[in-house]
């Protein structure tokens, strides 16, 4: 190194240090004019910022420009470090359990039908929760006024509850035998045979829009 630029590089190095510290400590991205207040006379802030940016390129932290402001940010490829997934086992709420059981026995069924059996409105959150749990799916749309979405259970549902197929769901007599249903029930009461095959005659396919998992009629 020759003598002359030594002085300049010393000042430069000092300014880089200050820039580094100020940008590190700032609680928000800083623009050039506020950075300038920390620099010595005649500092070429644009050059300094580029130099600092290059110095941090490829490091775990990068100097990034946001609009006309500058800030340190975690390198994009390391952003996964700042996310963590926590699994928590939770017991299904009563409402969700009721809705799920009705869908299981009555499938393909619509939200209105579920509400009819439950005698109470079923929140969209309950359906969403069961969808997120992976236990129910939208099958199609009922060929009826309003074309409501029909719901059915998934393979994950069978898997979780240890069923080989839907026909393993106990019928009326078995439920009575297990003491789950009272024997005093009227003989007119029937339990439907759940159906999880392809679309039934009264079902149409889902709309293309339904693919994002939203029930537009909800």
């Amino acid at each position: 190194m020759n003598d002359q630029p030594d002085k300049i590089s010393e000042i430069n190095e000092r300014n880089l240090r200050v820039l580094e510290a100020v940008l590190f400590a700032s609680s928000e991205p800083l623009d050039v004019s506020s950075l300038l207040t920390y620099m010595g006379e005649g500092a070429n802030i644009a050059n300094l910022l580029v130099a600092l940016q290059q110095r941090y390129a490829g490091r775990g932290v990068n100097l990034v420009q946001r609009g006309d402001k500058w800030a340190f940010r975690t390198a994009e490829d390391l952003s996964f470090l700042l996310r963590r997934e926590e699994q928590k086992t939770r017991t299904l709420s009563r409402a969700a359990l009721e809705t799920l059981s009705i869908i299981a026995y009555h499938q393909p069924t619509t939200r209105a039908e579920i509400e009819e059996v439950r005698g109470i409105a079923t929140g969209k959150g309950t359906i969403d929760l069961l969808m997120a749990a992976g236990w129910i799916r939208m099958r199609g749309r009922r060929r009826a006024p309003g074309r409501p979405v029909t719901y059915g259970t998934t393979d994950a549902f069978l898997d979780h509850f240890g069923l080989e197929s839907l026909s393993d769901l106990p019928g009326l007599d078995e439920l009575k035998g297990a003491g789950l249903l009272s024997n005093r029930l009227p003989s007119s009461m029937q339990i439907p045979l759940p159906f999880d095959g392809a679309l039934r005659d009264d079902e149409g396919p889902l709309d293309p829009d339904d693919l994002d998992g939203e029930d537009k009629n909800a």
Partner: protein
């Protein structure tokens, strides 16, 4: 707040004039603080300070304060008493038989405590003049917190599912349930009817024969038999009729009771 010798204590600088000292003790954090201030006024190293002179100054100071205001914290008076004792120990030569600690040791102890308090005060200044976090040294201004995505694993048993379904189906049924309207014979009705049917028949006739018209409807048999039987017992008690049964579960025979002993 910029000089290196920042006074971090909120106590105002002590006036140079000793005469002003007697005005108050409120500026001091206890007698030790006051003693330390007095010691500093000797303008010598604490190690070579005259404890005797210090004790005299303290006692004089307390005396002046008490002339102005009677009330004085007990701490100050306890210290005054102790210093009076210390003074006497320092002035009067130690007797050989004396069990009490020598005055020099008491003086050294006081000196030690003053030095230790002074030492802590210096330490405070040095600590507070360090580049402190948030004032001269900074942490990351824009921390990037770790985002925790909560994933719920739902749990339910097949039993819960089936129970839940069954409860709902049963609930749906009970909404339509209407209790059966049963015909019930009151005891009075049964008694009236039985009286009427028997009339004046003194022959043994099975009770069911009298009731044959009423027993056609199977749903009503139980209540009619029960009410009739109960009221027949009452009629026997009243001496209106007689009852006879030849064997267990055999037919009940009834007739009008003969009241006259013929």
């Amino acid at each position: 707040m910029t000089s290196a010798q920042t006074n971090w204590f909120d106590k105002p600088a002590t006036p140079a004039d000793d005469d002003i000292l007697y005005v108050d003790v409120d500026g001091y954090e206890g007698p030790l603080d006051l003693l330390l201030d007095l010691a500093r006024r000797q303008k010598v190293d604490l190690a070579v300070i005259s404890v005797l002179a210090l004790a005299k100054q303290y006692l004089l100071f307390i005396k002046k304060v008490r002339e102005k205001r009677i009330e004085l914290a007990a701490d100050y008076l306890v210290m005054a008493a102790w210093l009076t004792y210390l003074k006497s120990r320092l002035i009067v030569p130690q007797a050989a038989s004396d069990d009490e600690p020598p005055g020099e040791m008491l003086a050294a102890m006081l000196q030690f405590r003053l030095k230790r308090l002074e030492g802590m005060r210096v330490a405070v200044s040095q600590l507070m003049n360090r580049p402190r976090l948030g004032f001269q040294v900074y942490a990351r201004g824009m921390p990037e917190p770790i985002e925790i995505a909560h994933i719920s694993l739902w749990r339910a048993s097949l039993y819960d599912l089936l129970k839940s379904y069954s409860i709902q189906r049963e609930k749906g049924v009970t909404v339509d349930y209407a209790p059966l309207q049963r015909t019930v014979w009151s005891l009075q009705d049964a008694s009236d009817i039985l009286q009427r049917l028997i009339g004046d028949s003194f022959d043994w006739i099975p009770m069911d024969t009298y009731l044959i018209d009423y027993l056609v409807t199977p749903g009503e048999r139980a209540t009619i038999r029960a009410s009739t039987f109960a009221s027949s017992l009452e009629l026997v008690r009243q001496g209106q009729i007689d009852i006879r049964q030849s064997k267990t579960f055999g037919p009940l025979f009834i007739r009008r009771h003969r009241s006259d002993p013929s």
